[in-house]
C-alpha cells in the first residue's frame, strides 16, 4: 500500500506540474512560436538528421541576434519519422500551440498539407523543393529558400549536355540516351520527373524506361543491369544519399558506362564518402554551398555547429545543415519585415514579408531570393557542381531564365 502511495506521489509530482505548464504554455506571450517537422529516424533520415541540427542551430542564431525585432522564437521541433499521418497530427498541434509558421520537411506531407495551410494561412517553409509548390495561384503559403527540384534537374541535365555531351565523339551522330532512377512511390523522388523529361526532349535526348529504386535500397544491381541493357549515357538519380550511393557503386562495379546526375538530397559530402571512386564525375545541383565552403555567412553556420553540437564532428556535417540555415534565415527575414509592418500573422508573413523580398542575399551559396505574388521560384540561375578527386567543384552556372525566357515565364511555373 505504501509503495502504491509512493508511486502515486511520484507520478503526481512529475506529471501534474508538467501538465499544468503544458496546458498554460500557450498563455506565455512575447515569444513567436514556430513549429518544425524533421525526419531523423525515417526513410530520409540519412539527410534529415543534419537538416534537423541545422534548423535548431539557425533558430539559436536568430534568437542570439534579437529574434523577431526583439521577440525570441520558440521552436517546437518534432521528429515525424517521414510518416505523413504523424506530420498531419503535428501540424494540428502546431496550430493549437499558436505557431505562426512551420518549417516542414518532406514532399509528401508538404504537398498533402498544402490546401490546409492555404486555408489556415500558415506559411510553410519546407525542405521539399518541389516545383509543384512554387505557383502562388495554387499553393500561396508554401515557400522555400532554394531553387526547386525541377529547375535544378533542368539545369543539371543542361550542364551535362553543355560540358560533356558536346565533347563526346558521338555528339551530332546520335541522341544521348537518358534514364531516371528513383523510388516511384515517393512524391519527393517523382516531383521533377515530368520537368526533367521535358528538358531531355528539349535538348534532343532519347528517354529510356524509368528504374524503380527504393529510398532504402542497398542492392540495385537489377536496375543497373536494365540501364546497361538500354545503353544509357546519362542517369538522373532522384533518391537520397544512401540509395544514390548504392546505385552509383553498383553502376561502377557492373561497368555501366553512363554518367550520373543527382538531385540535391542525394548530392552531398556523404556521397563521396560512401561511393568513393564511383562518385568521381557525378554532377549535381546542391541548391546551396557545401558545409564549410568559403561563402558569406558560412562562418556562423560552422560556429554554431561547433558550439551547440560538439558531439558531431564538423567533418560529418553536410550541405543539408546549410540548407536548413537558408530556409530559417529566409523565414526570419520575412517575419522581421511582417513584424515591422505590424502584421506578424500568417498572411502578414506572406504578403508583407516573403512577397516583398527581391534579390535578397542570405549568403550560404544560395542564389539571391525573390518571391512575388505570382511566382515563388526564388531564382532562375543554378550552380552546378561536379565531384573531382573527391572534392566538389563548380562546373557551370546555368541561367535557365535567360536561356529560355519564354518557357521560364509562361510554361515552367508550378511543375
Amino acid at each position: 500500500m505504501d509503495l502504491k502511495k509512493k508511486w502515486f506521489k511520484f507520478v503526481a509530482v512529475i506529471f501534474i506540474p508538467a501538465l499544468i505548464f503544458g496546458i498554460s504554455a500557450s498563455a506565455l506571450a512575447a515569444e513567436v512560436k514556430v513549429g518544425a517537422l524533421n525526419d531523423v529516424t525515417g526513410a530520409t533520415s540519412d539527410v534529415g538528421k543534419d537538416y534537423a541540427l541545422g534548423i535548431a542551430d539557425a533558430i539559436r542564431y536568430v534568437n542570439d541576434n534579437g529574434g523577431i525585432n526583439g521577440k525570441p522564437i520558440k521552436l517546437y521541433q518534432f521528429d515525424y519519422g517521414y510518416r505523413i499521418p504523424e506530420a498531419l497530427t503535428k501540424y494540428k498541434l502546431f496550430k493549437r500551440l499558436g505557431c505562426v509558421a512551420v518549417l516542414g520537411w518532406g514532399t509528401g506531407d508538404t504537398e498533402a498539407l498544402s490546401p490546409t495551410v492555404t486555408q489556415d494561412k500558415m506559411p510553410y517553409v519546407s525542405a521539399s523543393y518541389s516545383a509543384h509548390l512554387t505557383n502562388p495561384a495554387k499553393t500561396p503559403y508554401n515557400l522555400f529558400a532554394a531553387t526547386d527540384y525541377s529547375t535544378n534537374a533542368r539545369a543539371t541535365i543542361t550542364a551535362w549536355y553543355d560540358t560533356r555531351w558536346k565533347k563526346n565523339p558521338e555528339f551530332g551522330k546520335r541522341k544521348p540516351k537518358f534514364v531516371c532512377s528513383y523510388h516511384f512511390a515517393y512524391p519527393y523522388c517523382s516531383a521533377p520527373i515530368k520537368a526533367i523529361k521535358d528538358q531531355a526532349e528539349l535538348l534532343g535526348f532519347e528517354v529510356g524506361p524509368d528504374q524503380n529504386v527504393s529510398l532504402v535500397a542497398i542492392d540495385t544491381k537489377s536496375q543497373v543491369l536494365a540501364m546497361k541493357d538500354y545503353g544509357a549515357d546519362l542517369v538522373w538519380h532522384g533518391n537520397t544519399t544512401m540509395s544514390v550511393s548504392a546505385t552509383v557503386r553498383d553502376a561502377f562495379a557492373l561497368g555501366l558506362k553512363a554518367e550520373h546526375i543527382v538531385n540535391c538530397w542525394g548530392f552531398d559530402e556523404n556521397l563521396v564518402k560512401l561511393a568513393g571512386k564511383a562518385a568521381e564525375g557525378v554532377f549535381g545541383a546542391p541548391r546551396c554551398a557545401f558545409f564549410g565552403e568559403n561563402v558569406k555567412n558560412m562562418d556562423k553556420v560552422v560556429e554554431y555547429a561547433k558550439k551547440y553540437n560538439p558531439g558531431v564532428p564538423l567533418e560529418n556535417r553536410t550541405t543539408h545543415t546549410v540548407a536548413a540555415w537558408a530556409n530559417t534565415l529566409a523565414l526570419w527575414e520575412a517575419m522581421k519585415r511582417a513584424d515591422k509592418a505590424g502584421d506578424l500573422t500568417g498572411e502578414g508573413i506572406l504578403k508583407k514579408g516573403f512577397e516583398t523580398i527581391r534579390d535578397f542575399d542570405i549568403g550560404l551559396g544560395v542564389q539571391p531570393l525573390n518571391y512575388t505574388s505570382t511566382d515563388h521560384r526564388t531564382a532562375g540561375k543554378v550552380s552546378i557542381y561536379e565531384i573531382k578527386n573527391g572534392k566538389f567543384q563548380v562546373v557551370e552556372l546555368v541561367d535557365l531564365k535567360s536561356r529560355w525566357p519564354e518557357k521560364w515565364g509562361k510554361e515552367w511555373l508550378g511543375w
Binding site: G22, R83, A112, L113, A185, P187
Partner: protein, 367 residues
C-alpha cells in the same frame, strides 16, 4: 417489479424481456444522460482541440470494434486489421475524388454517404478474402495469414498501385471542404465530431445487436471451442467468414470516416503498427467486451495526449524530448500493455463491471 433497480433473481418471463436494452427506468435515464452528454454537452463545451481528441477516440473505437469482434468474440486473432481500414479509406477517397457522380448526387451531398457504404462493403468483402485461411488454420498460423493481408493490401497494392491513381503521388490530398454530407460541408472538428458520434453509435448498437443474435451466439461458441460448436451444428466456416465480413465492414466505416478528418490520405496511415495498436487497445480495454473497445480507445488516446502535453514544457530543459517523442509514445504503448497484462489482465471493462456491481449493491454489498 421495481422500475429503478432489478430485483435479486431472474424474473423475466420472455426472451424479449430478457434481452431488452433498457430493463429499468434507471438504465434508460442513464442512457439518455449519456446521449445528452455525447450529442449536446461535449460539442457545446469542447473547443477544437478536445473535439479533435474525441474524433481520434471515435476512430480508434471504430477500428477496435472489428478487432474485438474477431479476437474477443469469435476467437480469430488478427494482426492485419489496418488493411481493411485502408480499403475503406481508399475506396471512399477514390469515389469522392475520381468517380464521375451524376450532378444531382453531388448537389444534394450524397456522394460521401454513399461512398461510406460502398467502402464498408468493399472492406468487408476484402476481409472475407483474407478470412478464408481461417477455414484451415487457427491460432499462431492465422495471425500470420492476417499479417499477409496487411502486407499485400497496404504495402503492395495500395502503395504501388492504388495511390498512384490520378498521377504522381502517394498521398491523395483532401482539401478542407472536399467532403460533404447533404448541405453540410465537413470542414471543422465539430462537424467531424457529429459524424463520428453518429457512426460510432450506429456501429456499437449494430454490433451489440448482432452479438445478441444467432450469429453472435455462434461466434462465442466458436471462440470457446470450435469443435464443440461444429458438433452443435454450427457452420463454423460460414460464421467465421461472417465475423470477418462484419469486422471488415466496421473497419471500412472507420476508414471512410477518418478521411473526413485528414488533409490527405497516404498508405502510411495504415501501417502494420496500427493493426498492432488496435490489438493493444482491446487488451487494455478488455477482451470480449464492447465496453472494452471503447475504454481501451479512450485510455490510449487520452494517455498519449497527456504525455504530449507533459513533454512540451519539459522540452525547455530537455529539447531532445520533443524530437524523441515518437519513441516516447511507442514506448508508452508497450509499457501500458505490459502493466495491464500484469496488473489488470481482464482490462478496463472488468474494472468498470466491478465498479458497477459495487454501486448496484451499495450500501449493502457483501465484502
Amino acid at each position: 417489479m421495481s422500475t429503478t433497480w432489478l430485483p435479486c433473481g431472474d424474473y423475466h418471463q420472455s426472451y424479449r424481456e430478457d434481452h431488452a436494452w433498457f430493463q429499468t427506468r434507471f438504465i434508460k435515464g442513464k442512457m439518455i444522460l449519456l446521449g445528452l452528454v455525447l450529442f449536446i454537452f461535449i460539442p457545446l463545451m469542447g473547443e477544437t482541440y478536445s473535439l479533435s481528441v474525441c474524433n481520434q477516440i471515435g476512430y480508434t473505437v471504430l477500428g477496435a470494434l472489428g478487432v474485438q469482434l474477431l479476437i474477443g468474440f469469435c476467437g480469430q486473432v488478427t494482426l492485419g486489421h489496418a488493411a481493411f481500414i485502408a480499403v475503406g479509406a481508399y475506396t471512399s477517397t477514390l469515389l469522392i475524388l475520381e468517380f464521375p457522380w451524376p450532378q444531382f448526387i453531388l448537389d444534394i451531398g450524397l456522394a460521401y454517404p454513399i461512398s461510406i457504404f460502398i467502402a464498408a462493403v468493399t472492406a468487408g468483402l476484402w476481409s472475407v478474402l483474407f478470412g478464408l485461411p481461417s477455414a484451415r488454420v487457427k491460432g499462431f498460423y492465422l495471425i500470420l495469414t492476417t499479417m499477409a493481408a496487411q502486407f499485400i493490401t497496404v504495402e503492395f497494392i495500395i502503395t504501388q498501385y492504388v495511390s498512384q491513381i490520378g498521377g504522381r503521388g502517394q498521398a491523395f490530398s483532401l482539401p478542407p471542404g472536399t467532403i460533404k454530407i447533404g448541405p453540410w460541408v465537413i470542414d471543422s472538428d465539430l462537424k467531424v465530431y457529429y459524424m463520428m458520434i453518429v457512426l460510432t453509435s450506429l456501429c456499437i448498437i449494430g454490433l451489440a445487436n448482432l452479438l445478441r443474435s444467432r450469429a453472435g451466439r455462434a461466434w462465442v461458441a466458436i471462440r470457446d471451442n470450435d469443435i464443440s460448436a461444429e458438433v452443435m451444428g454450427i457452420n463454423v466456416i460460414k460464421y467465421k467468414l461472417l465475423a470477418f465480413f462484419v469486422a471488415g465492414f466496421i473497419g471500412g466505416v472507420a476508414g471512410a470516416f477518418w478521411i473526413s478528418n485528414l488533409a490527405a490520405i497516404s498508405p502510411e496511415h495504415f501501417q502494420w503498427f496500427w493493426s498492432l495498436w488496435l490489438v493493444g487497445v482491446i487488451l487494455i480495454g478488455g477482451v470480449g467486451s464492447i465496453h472494452g473497445a471503447v475504454f481501451g480507445s479512450i485510455f490510449m488516446v487520452v494517455v498519449m495526449e497527456l504525455l504530449q502535453l507533459a513533454v512540451i514544457p519539459l522540452a525547455d530543459e530537455y529539447p531532445k524530448l520533443l524530437m524523441d517523442f515518437l519513441f516516447v509514445k511507442e514506448a508508452a504503448f508497450g509499457l501500458a500493455i505490459c502493466v495491464f497484462m500484469i496488473f489488470e489482465p481482464y482490462g478496463l471493462a472488468y474494472r468498470w463491471w466491478q465498479v458497477k456491481n459495487y454501486f448496484n449493491l451499495w450500501p449493502f454489498s457483501y465484502r
